[in-house]
């Protein structure tokens, strides 16, 4: 793994920036200084800029959208996690979720290194479509929102058990502001946003399938599992609204939803039907 890092300084720089963001965001859990808070956001912005540079660089090098292999998609996913987080940071005016987001983005890049492909695989006929980029981008921004929602749900569970985390949420850690945030509402908002994107992604995929193969739905394992994902989050929204689910069980359901997302994203290779799938690319 070291040889890859030695040859790709920009990749190291992006990872280091996420690690730095993680460190400084963690410091905002302890410090009330405005400088620390600003430094954390600055580190995250720098990490995102470097991450974007990796994507653009690969796009130019490959002469196609870099969403083909697992490695490429991981690099994009870490960008989406960071970008969604920054929007949420502005929206809720708190940095309390920062360490979790930075950790997830960093872990994502770290995993990308382990799945590194030196090659640039050329696009097979099925992917040569105008729907390719919107389909992937919509899905990954949606996944980024779901990752954020999961991080918040985890924090919610921790806040219910440990005073340290409860206090963080109460004082809006990392801001000069005080005033508690409704952490349930944050998870809900993120899942609503993600659900809209998952819906669009699924339907765009269906339109694409229709235009490529003549069928809206071909029972591809990834299709089936993305439907399962959609149904789980649909259940979350429904149970919250109709049955009034709140607290731990809602948080656990949000986490379970993300577990299904991760299986849909990474677990297809384990399925016996993977060979026949249009979504499993081993290069």
């Amino acid at each position: 793994m070291i040889y890859i890092l030695a040859e790709h300084p920009w990749f190291v720089a992006a990872s280091a920036a996420y690690a730095a963001a993680l460190g400084v965001y963690a410091a905002t859990w302890r410090s009330t200084k405005a400088l620390v808070a600003r430094l954390a956001t600055a580190a995250m912005c720098a990490a995102l800029a470097l991450n974007a540079a990796l994507i653009v660089g690969r796009w130019i090098e490959a002469d196609r959208a870099p969403f083909k292999s697992l490695f490429e998609s991981l690099v994009f996913f870490s960008f989406c996690i960071g970008a969604v987080y920054l929007v949420m940071e502005r929206l809720y005016r708190t940095r309390v979720f920062g360490p979790i987001a930075a950790l997830m983005a960093f872990a994502c890049l770290g995993y990308a290194v382990s799945k590194w492909d030196a090659e640039i695989v050329k696009l097979p006929p099925a992917l040569q479509s105008g729907w390719f980029v919107p389909h992937v981008v919509v899905y990954f921004v949606g996944y980024g929102a779901m990752a954020f929602a999961t991080g918040v749900a985890v924090l919610q569970l921790l806040a219910g058990r440990y005073d340290f985390f409860a206090r963080l949420v109460r004082v809006k850690a990392g801001t000069a502001l005080s005033g508690s945030i409704d952490i349930e509402e944050v998870t809900y908002d993120a899942i609503k946003f993600g659900f809209v994107l998952l819906t669009i992604g699924l339907l765009v995929g269906s339109v694409w399938a229709k235009s490529a193969w003549g069928d809206f739905w071909v029972w591809d394992p990834k299709e089936n599992w993305s439907l399962v994902t959609w149904l789980v989050y649909g259940a979350y929204l429904h149970l919250r609204r109709v049955k009034g689910w709140r607290g731990d069980r809602a948080a656990w359901l949000a986490i379970a939803g993300f577990a299904v997302v991760m299986f849909t994203y990474l677990g297809m290779g384990m399925l016996p039907t993977a060979e026949a799938s249009a979504h499993v690319y081993t290069g």
Partner: protein
């Protein structure tokens, strides 16, 4: 069985490969599970590089290589028999080693070993399909009415029937499997999709009922 009301003739099926015609491919022997339990070694394509002189490429595992010289038409044979040759410099465990001259069209003389399990092969690009193309002609009323190229992601429509590239055999230009679909209501389905997307966003962001669900304490009854 629905009738088209016209005939469709396959003129030729072709597989279009990515350019350039030759490549340097990196293969690696991997263990593949065997039915009898003992794993088998199989060379698998791990990376494919366009031949460009001087560009250093990193291989999985940390070794690297670059093409030192490239002779697209090496040898004295005629143009039809051109035999491209390449000389590689390979860095294995930190040491640069020059390969023998590799000939793309001479199996046995086209590869160099990299470590225990890897090999670089200078060869004709026989994978990496750019497009599967069915060249077809519509015969309507006894005469040729239209010609078309049917590709994945680029179907062909004639008189309400749409033909999709569905099956093929890369080695058989006389065979192609097309899927024929007659779907006059398809735009209504697309409209429905669009309305679902708008509706989902609407219920969350415009309609007040889902915008901010009331906290359970504020609700008189959370279970019915």
């Amino acid at each position: 069985v629905a009738k088209f009301g016209f005939d469709l003739r396959l003129d030729r099926f072709e597989v279009v490969r990515y350019e350039p015609e030759h490549r340097v491919a990196y293969y690696r022997a991997e263990e593949v599970p065997c039915p009898d339990g003992k794993p088998d070694l199989e060379f698998r394509l791990k990376a494919s590089f366009d031949p460009e002189v001087g560009v250093k490429h990193l291989l999985p595992g940390g070794d690297s290589f670059r093409i030192k010289t490239l002779a697209p038409e090496y040898g004295t044979e005629g143009k039809e028999m051109k035999n491209p040759a390449a000389l590689l410099e390979v860095r294995i465990d930190g040491d640069w080693i020059e390969s023998p001259l590799l000939f793309a069209h001479q199996p046995g003389k086209n590869s160099v070993r990299v470590g225990d399990r890897g090999a670089l092969v200078f060869e004709k690009r026989n994978q990496e399909t750019k497009a599967d193309v069915s060249n077809v002609t519509v015969v309507d009323g006894g005469k040729d009415a239209a010609t078309a190229r049917v590709l994945v992601n680029d179907p062909f429509t004639y008189k309400g029937w749409t033909f999709y590239q569905a099956e093929c055999n890369p080695n058989d230009p006389t065979f192609s499997g097309l899927q024929a679909v007659r779907d006059p209501g398809v735009n209504w389905v697309f409209l429905g999709f669009f309305l679902i997307c708008v509706g989902v966003a609407w219920m969350f962001y415009v309609d007040n009922r889902m915008k901010k669900a009331p906290a359970p304490a504020a609700r008189p009854e959370s279970h019915r």
